[in-house]
């Protein structure tokens, strides 16, 4: 089983990203579970959300204490990453991994998701786009599954869906390099 932590700020859509990832993994034929850190959300305050992906049905219902992966939507929150991450930490940042000061055994990958979101969506909506980086770097989910999940989650809300699809593809490409 793979556990993923999403770290973002209230309003950034971390909860939605974990949900879209769970749908995408399910579309890929896996089992999944997504849930927010249970509590009271405030705009701008740190928000955590979680996803579990497995080949078999997931019975585990405890909170996530350590994870294989973390996706950090806002790099200023890095100090708040208190859970241990064993595989990879994906950070939305224009810095290089070696410039990131973080005490971890996990690999660090930086992708400038905000830049791509501004180009493709016109607004710094990074939550969905960040999943493109996750797919490219970890290969735990397919880009095709993610696209299906976006349609399911956002429905046919017009241009925003297309813009998010473009952004996720661009981020996927960028992170595959």
């Amino acid at each position: 089983m793979k556990q993923i932590i999403f770290l973002g700020r209230g309003g950034q859509g971390a909860v939605t990203s974990s949900r879209v990832l769970a749908i995408a993994a399910f579309e890929d034929g896996k089992f999944s579970q997504a849930f927010p850190n249970f509590g009271v959300e405030r705009m701008g305050a740190p928000v955590r959300s979680y996803c579990r992906i497995d080949e078999k049905k997931i019975d585990l219902r405890e909170q996530v204490y350590d994870a294989e992966y973390a996706i950090v939507l806002d790099a200023t929150l890095l100090n708040g990453l208190i859970e241990s991450v064993s595989d990879t930490i994906i950070i939305n940042s224009n810095k290089k991994p070696e410039e990131i000061n973080l005490n971890t055994k996990a690999k660090i990958k930086c992708v400038d998701i905000t830049k791509i979101a501004l180009e493709e969506i016109g607004k710094p909506f990074v939550n969905i786009a960040a999943l493109g980086a996750f797919a490219a770097i970890t290969k735990e989910v397919s880009l095709n599954g993610l696209e299906k999940a976006i349609y399911q989650q956002m429905g046919s809300k017009g241009p925003m869906v297309e813009k998010n699809i473009n952004a996720i593809r661009k981020v996927f490409e960028d992170a595959s390099k």
Binding site: S18, S32, Q33, F38, G39, I58, D59, R61, E62, Q63
Partner: protein
Amino acid sequence: MVKNVVISGSDAIAEAVKLCKPKVCPMYPITPSTLVPEKISEFINDGVLEAEMINVESEHSAASALFGAYAIGVRAFTASASNGIALMHEILPIISASRFPAVMSVANRTISGPINIWNDHSDAMSERDQGWIQMYCESSQEAFDTIIMAYKIAEKENVSLPIMVCIDGFSLSHVYEPVQIEDQKKVDAFLPKYNPKNILDIKNPKTFGPIAFPNSFFEFHEQEQLAMKEALKEIPLAHTEFASMFGRKYGNGLIELIEMKDAEYALIANGTSVGTTRVVVEELRKEGKKVGLIKLKTFRPFPKEEIINSCKNLKAVGIIDRHVSLGSEGAITLDVKAALKDEKVRVEGFISGLGGRDIDKTRIKKAFEILEKGGKGIWLK
């Protein structure tokens, strides 16, 4: 059409309610139950559920309107949690004594104070004695399935009691996972049209809610107790029928036994802590430990015989209670102790998960360790 989707426990409940076609849904939002009335009001607005949504001013009114809907003879639904359930307290036994087969979902949340929005079972457990059947769910799929089964069981003439379908607040109400949404025709075949006998009808006047003097009140309660006994038979029957139609089952609908055949030590759990305990049992079994798990799906009526039969040969059994009767013990522990009073098995109660404290693998392992070492039940803080 059957749909496989990733939705929350709350959405799963709303989808199931839609398929059961209630005519009246009086609801008052309260965290963490709010997602249920939100989704149902969406269905009603979109015209996919033909029901009257009553925006009541309180949970007391929600329960009263639920009573009213059943008095005129239609299937109805409400959802609540925590202090909302507490505010319904006065009406809940009136619904059951009137023998109205109402169904209510409870997104279990503790009762204030101090104020706390998170999960434990103190809201439903505080209504233990009010004549409502109580069924607890471990997954979103089980929540979906249990709503459909609940209407079927409640509406059995020999049962005619209301049912609370309980899901852990946040730990299930807000967890997104795969759920199979069943086809309307199949649900219609399983759940026939509601055909009540006792309704308000001006052509055939009857009295509801009359005063019961000392010469009859006793018999009202006696009949409710008999109906609870009938429910112990009807729940497994409805459950078997559900399993044969939909291919999913949860033990016999009362309890489910996991690794119990040769178990020496076992835990009894309900709600989402069952899932995590399954994982712990699997891990401990790999270490060669003879441990098992009894999932208590139905808490009222209490499946006493099933508990005796599954526990009597154990060395010790522990109970994970997500609630405490202050000044005594956990509600489930008390019932299990009473059931096993003539057996040799040691019974230990563990209080855990109060006010949203996580019931994680570590705490569950600790409970097993205490049982094996012959220790006493503790508060698993």
